[in-house]
């Protein structure tokens, strides 16, 4: 496009914005002195700002378009720099070792406040990985995922309160109960897809929260349950600081376990069936895949992780009430999956760390938190809808084709 045309467009946009913001940014009625102030300076700021921004915006858009063309017309797509670096064993091995050492040393290097934040981030990593099975792999948009998290947390709190069962007993029970509720949700929504499914799961999440809020004799209502014991370690008594560190390591171990299991599931017959279901439901069934079973396993296996991590959440905070399980949490977990990259484990981990840690470390800007969050999401969806880390399909190796490895998009 010609420069003059670009210029005209930007002028038009800045005029439009000046007009739109005129009533709120320029006029101010001073009720004390009973005069109207005209803040023309603001208008100038808006004009110049939107003029420049529109330039940058269109520039980025056209760059994105150009980047897409070669990928569509030919196979000349080169791997992004990050992935090429990671494919090199000389680079990724030391990087991984450094990362592992950092993870282990983290609570020793930083304060228990920092450790606590990191534990929270790891909780979201696990939640994200669980939801990733449902949303990223099986393509079932679940807006009520937090319900399973609540199921896990309340199963620990209640079973402990009534029967005195310990953390380690409840951890697998929480996972199982999560899976059970996953199947419970799965049955009525088997026939639903897309928007309809999203609405029903949203309703399911709200139902669970409302039950917890209102059924006082069962869940102690909005006042919640306090004095939930922290996880034990062979009966050793720990101070608060030690317990924080202990839960941190516990969470690291559980995350590794989750990554291990999810990775294997993804690379299996079942994982492929999930992806096929996401891609085309009818064709998937016509190839002999049982839709009912595949969907239910996806719901159940996704919910298992939320159930387990719910138990840890209850043990970590020692107090839970329904306020921790609002729709906002579901939205947050979904954002983690979408921002990180649907179907990609590394992406989800990165997404969780970014979305949970940045608000903590940018406390100075806490007033603008949601504004920044929203802007980041909009920019991300426009310029990189596939998420931070794109999921590249695996290349299978076997006898007749030799041992050489080729990237999927070479």
């Amino acid at each position: 496009m010609k420069a003059s045309e670009e210029f005209k467009k930007s002028i038009f946009i800045s005029l439009w914005f000046m007009l739109l913001t005129f009533p709120i940014l320029v006029i101010r009625v001073n009720t004390i002195e009973k005069v109207v102030e005209w803040r023309w300076r603001n208008m100038a700021f808006i004009g110049i700002g939107s003029f420049l921004l529109s330039f940058v915006w269109r520039r980025l858009l056209s760059r994105k378009e150009r980047g897409r063309q070669p990928a569509e017309t030919g196979n000349v797509e080169t791997l992004p720099l990050g992935r090429r670096l990671l494919a090199e064993p000389r680079i990724y091995r030391p990087a991984l070792t450094a990362l592992a050492l950092f993870t282990i040393a983290f609570p020793l290097l930083f304060s228990s406040y920092q450790t606590n934040i990191m534990t929270t981030a790891l909780i979201y990593v696990m939640l994200g990985l669980g939801l990733n099975i449902v949303v990223g792999l099986a393509g079932l948009l679940d807006l009520g995922y937090v319900a399973f998290y609540a199921v896990g947390a309340y199963s620990y709190a209640l079973l402990n309160h009534h029967f005195g069962l310990g953390f380690w007993t409840i951890l697998p029970v929480g996972g199982l109960l999560g899976a059970l509720f996953g199947i419970l949700l799965g049955f009525p929504v088997l026939r639903l897809r897309g928007d309809y499914l999203a609405i029903v799961t949203l309703g399911f999440g709200e139902i669970i929260r409302l039950i917890l809020e209102n059924w006082n004799t069962f869940s102690f209502g909005p006042s919640g349950i306090a004095n939930i014991p922290r996880p034990g370690l062979f009966g050793i008594s720990m101070t608060l600081g030690e317990a924080t560190i202990y839960i941190y390591y516990l969470m690291v171990a559980l995350c590794l376990f989750t990554i291990f299991v999810v990775n294997r599931l993804q690379d299996s017959r079942i994982g492929r069936a999930w992806i096929a279901l996401r891609e085309d439901e009818v064709a998937c069934q016509a190839m002999g895949i049982d839709k009912t079973r595949t969907k239910l396993t996806a719901f159940a296996l996704g919910a298992t992780w939320a159930g387990m991590v719910g138990v840890i959440f209850a043990a970590k905070t020692t107090f839970i009430n329904p306020a921790s399980f609002t729709f906002m949490e579901s939205a947050m977990i979904l954002s983690i999956v979408v921002l990180g990259g649907m179907g990609s484990i590394a992406g989800v981990i990165l997404g969780a760390l970014i979305l949970i840690l940045t608000p903590e470390y940018l406390r100075a800007f806490s007033a603008y938190r949601m504004l920044l969050f929203g802007t980041a999401m909009v920019l991300m969806m426009v310029f990189r809808p596939q998420g931070i880390v794109t999921n590249i399909r695996r290349v299978y190796r076997f006898g007749t084709r030799g041992k050489e490895s080729r990237p999927a998009q070479a």
Binding site: R264, A273, A276, G288, T297, L301
Partner: protein
């Protein structure tokens, strides 16, 4: 005739609309049968009834995968029918477009494998062997259908003709005894059509399967099929060899006469 598929007076109503009216059809072992007819004559509906996407209003569908064995499959679930050995392709290509070519075929192997959740997580020797078998069998099918070079390419990047062939490859992976092809040559150029013809004959001979296909390309229908069945407004109006159909006045009037070009 030793038939693998016997359809008796199959009728399908959608509300007040009669999409299929008492259609009879038989497909013999290792036979290639073509189903032709103008647009909207109920050919794809017929396929959808056979593969369990619709449950027919009336009539019976019997299959006999092996000689002697006979089973009624009305209203059986789609995936069970695929397991029993009827595989199909789609008129509007329905590949798993973000998966690689090889993975698409591997999905076809799904119903011939057993590994469950526990097997996937533990990845024991049995699961690993099964996975390896899936990969190798799938690759073998790709070699046979001439797609081996693009095995690691995402399916959406394939040219149109290759996508059609991949649909056939994926269907073959389910080890069918009967393959239903819904307009396999649609949108192909003459060279691709020739290759496809050759492929279909080879599949029939190598895998020893029967083929029922819907096709508009008359040249291909005439040269490939042992028998042709003509549908019009959901009714079977003719059946016979290519030569018989060619001369049947009813067919010419209903179908060929209107906009048929002999050189098409």
């Amino acid at each position: 005739m030793d038939s693998v598929l016997t359809v008796n007076s199959l009728t399908m109503h959608f509300g007040g609309l009669r999409a299929l009216g008492a259609v009879d059809l038989e497909v013999g072992r290792e036979e290639i049968v073509a189903l032709i007819g103008p647009n909207g004559s109920g050919k794809t509906t017929f396929f959808n009834c056979l593969t369990g996407i619709y449950e027919p209003t009336e009539g019976d569908i019997f299959i006999s995968p092996t000689e002697g064995g006979r089973r009624r499959i009305n209203g059986v679930k789609i995936n069970r029918i695929a397991e029993m050995g009827i595989a199909r392709t789609f008129q509007n290509i329905r590949l798993f477009s973000n998966m690689t070519v090889l993975e698409n075929v591997m999905i076809g192997r799904h119903c011939r494998a057993k590994a469950g959740v526990l097997g996937a997580v533990l990845r024991g020797r049995k699961t690993r062997r099964e996975e390896q078998e899936i990969v190798e069998r799938s690759y073998e099918i790709l070699v046979r259908t001439g797609l081996a070079d693009q095995a690691d390419e995402p399916a959406r990047n394939l040219p149109y003709g290759a996508q059609r062939r991949l649909e056939i490859a994926r269907a073959l992976a389910t080890e069918p005894f009967l393959l239903l092809l819904d307009e396999p040559a649609a949108g192909m150029n003459p060279r691709e059509t020739d290759e496809l013809e050759e492929l279909i004959v080879r599949i029939r001979d190598e895998a020893k399967i029967s083929i029922l296909m819907i096709e508009h390309d008359m040249r291909m229908v005439m040269s490939l099929s042992n028998r042709i069945i003509v549908l019009d407004y959901g009714e079977k109006i003719a059946e016979g060899t290519a030569a018989q159909i060619w001369e049947n006045p009813v067919v010419i009037k209903a179908y060929l006469g209107e906009d048929f070009n002999i050189n098409a």
